[in-house]
Amino acid sequence: MNATIQEIEGIDDYWGPAFRSVYEGEGHEAFVQQLDDRIKQHDKEIEKLCNFHYQGFIDSIRELLQVRSHAEELHAEISNVDANVKETTEALCIRADELIRARRVELNIAATIEKMELCLPLLTTYSKLKSQVEAKRYYPALKTLEQLEHVLLPRVGPYKWCAQISSDIPRLRQAIRDASMADLRDFLENIRRLSPQVGAMALKQTQDMMGRSLANIISKKDKSQGLTASDGPQCPHELVDFSPLHRCLHIHTVLGAKNDFIQYYRSQRRQQARLVLIPSSGNLHDSIQGIRNYLHAVLGFFILEEHLLTAGAGLVSKDWLLDTWGMSVTKVASTLRTNTSLVTDPNLMLKIKDQIMLFINTLKCYGLPTDPLPLLLQEMAEHYTEVLMQRWVGVFRDILDNGSFLPIEVQNQEEYDSVMDKFPYDGEELETQPFPRKFPFSSLVTSVYVQVKEFIYAWLMYSAGLGLGGERRAGAARHSASLLLSRSFAGCLSALFRRPLPLVQLVQIIVDTQYLEDATVCLYEFISNITGSELVTTQAAGSMFQAARDDAEQQICDKLEKKVDEFLDLENYDWLLVEPIGQASSFVTDMLSYLSGVLTSLEQLPERARVAAVRAATNRIATRLRALLLDPAVKQISSGALYQLDLDVIQCEQFAAGEPVPGLREGELLEHFASLRQLLDLITGWDWSSYLHDVGIDGGKYTLVTPKDAATLLEKLKEAEQKSSVFSVLKKNERDRRKLLDTVLKQLKQLQNQDS
């Protein structure tokens, strides 16, 4: 039983098993007893305990009551102290607060300064950037920009204004790029303006170099001794300040757009090249200045490019330069070709040629290919020859217009010598004659000869310096000289002959051309002398002026025929003349004496021409006289008139037989009169039987008389006889004659019908 109580006392809870054992055991009363005993024991113990602590408790209460009063005292004391403290620390507290605020401000300031110090470089750099941009120092500006962007800005915090600057950077960059482009444009503009000067200077240098000779150098030296060495540019390209270009290149390199820039530069220059290639002053053929300016500009342009090529930097590549040049030189050649083809002034041509030569030589100095310019010079040579010829046509025309066409007559030795100086004439015979002496040729010969020499001089001027060999030059000069004579001069002569000229001029011209022709050999000699080449003895074209001479001869013949016509127009036959006056008609005698007069005055002419002239005249006389006889307007011809005409014809035949000029075939001129003579003989001789017998037989006496002509004339005779015998009675023989006449007429008519 005790165990169970112990168990219960030992265990706080989980009393179940203990209760169970109690429940299930017997002795509940005992247990309860015991339990009561236990409780009584515990109560006694509690009572003892309380008795033990009760005094202590009372003491404590008492003490506690004492603490209370002490506490109250303390409280009052402390309150007092507190009030005192409060009073004394109030000012202090205010100061402390102030101090705290000041400290805080101080700290803030320090912090701000620190931040500001970080910002300051950014800001100064930024302003530096601005001023650099303003001063157009774009390259440093870009560097600054770079620093700003990559170093300074990240260092400074994310301020609003930083963001602003950050956002400003691309804009600035673009602005710099634009500005540098503007600079490039200025530069391009500038070199366009300066190029001609560059070209001019280069040409000048080439010229000086080519004209460099010892004497030249010495005289130059003398001149320049007084002067200090010139401080101007030594090389043409120094005239141009390339720094803007290089700056631009740097800028674009920095901007990472180097290639774009190079492309841009090249395309701009290409465009400029196109502009340069179009002559600014429209017509280049007006003056040398135009050509000069043009070539200067072109040359200047390429010298600058060439300089950039040698300067490296990659702006200009060799390929690009050669390509651009190739395009340009073709254009230059064609521009020059078009313009020079319009030039009509040989001096200008020469100047142009010199200028182009200089141009070519300068190109060589700068290593630029010169083709096709040398070819152009050759083409121009042809044009120059044309121009010269044109000019000399004018000269020849002047000479011909003002020519007296009289043999040169000299009064004294001086005059004689001056003619001999001008023209190569073998004066051996003339030398012995007394003054005044007369040359066989007119001043035309000397003037033309001198002018051809002038022409040759002028012509050779062009080929000078072209580097042709002496032989080639001489050959071409010979060719041009003979072309000048055979084409230009002969052309002028032909033009001269187009209008009627007095006989004396015609004669002299024929003589003169012969002298000129003979002198071509001397011209060739002259050419080989001045070109220092071997004398070429090819036969001079002997018939150079034959066509002109033929013209002149033809005109002489025409003139004589016209004069014959004029005489024959004066014919005043009385066709019903009863009895001839026994004298030739005056127009015939006048005409014949006129002709012999003229023929004597033609004695200077080559035989051929005189023969042609006299033939033409005689033939004309015969033709006209015969036409007169057969003229249908003349209805009747009396035998008296017939005899008169016969007499006149006889005069003419005498003239013809008298060999009016030498060189005629025996009886040649008479042949012109043959048909007229036969007709007259037939009628006056009344030889009808032979005529009718011989008709149609070769070698007959009257082979040249056609039945028609015979009938026509007979008819006229019959008419006249009928008219004269209207009132008279015919005698027997007259009647017979009339009968015969009728019969013959009938037979002639028959013959005519047979023929037709």
């Binding site: 007296s404 007095p502 006056i581 006129y594 007069g597 005055s601 307007a633």
Partner: protein, 211 residues
């Protein structure tokens, strides 16, 4: 055949070289003037038909060269001439003085009844004048020949001179005609000179067949 003219007069121009004979003839026949000197070769002629009182008169005018070389040829033409123009140059004293010699020349070579006239040419060149108009007139009076100053260049009095000479010839011819006219008629005006006449200058009056 219808004649293109009624009458033919042969005229002759003489005078020193350079006085303007060719120019005068050129002016009269072509109505033009050429400044350049064209030397006359031997002898030359031009023909111009003029109208005189309704008659077509053909003038065959011979121009002579002054050169000695052609003198013999020239004189042969004196014979057939019906009228002679004696030309001098008013700017050339010598050419004026020579007129007397030319007149003598005419007397020796031309037919006696030849009509003459003196021309003082180049009267346009007044500033260079050496022979006054009065002296020309004086000379003309002395020889009883008509006189006029001309300018081939300005075409002054050239027509007048030739018309005057032609008219005088015509008048003289008509006068002779009347004197010699045969009342018995027949075909007009054909004289038949005998062969003996040949040495003497044939009178030109015989030449004009239709008047």
């Amino acid at each position: 055949m219808a004649k293109t003219y009624d009458c033919l007069f042969k005229l002759l121009l003489i005078g020193d070289s350079g006085v303007g004979k060719t120019s005068i003839l050129f002016r009269f026949s072509e109505d033009a003037f050429n400044i350049s000197f064209i030397s006359t070769i031997g002898i030359d002629f031009k023909i111009r038909t003029i109208d005189l009182d309704g008659k077509k008169v053909k003038l065959q005018i011979w121009d002579t060269a002054g050169q000695e070389r052609f003198r013999t040829i020239t004189t042969a033409y004196y014979r057939g001439s019906m009228g002679i123009m004696l030309v001098y140059d008013v700017t050339n004293e010598k050419s004026f003085e020579n007129i007397k010699n030319w007149i003598r020349n005419i007397e020796e070579n031309a037919s006696a009844d030849v009509e003459k006239m003196i021309l003082g040419n180049k009267c346009d060149l007044d500033s260079q004048r050496q022979v006054s108009k009065e002296r020309g007139e004086q000379l003309a009076i002395e020889y009883q020949i008509k006189f006029v100053e001309t300018s081939a260049k300005d075409s002054l009095n050239v027509e007048y001179a030739f018309y005057t000479l032609a008219r005088d010839i015509k008048a003289k011819m008509e006068k002779k005609q009347k004197e010699a006219s045969n009342p018995s008629g027949g075909r007009s005006g054909v004289h038949k000179p005998t062969l003996n006449d040949a040495r003497k200058p044939v009178t030109w009056l015989s030449r004009c067949s239709v008047l």
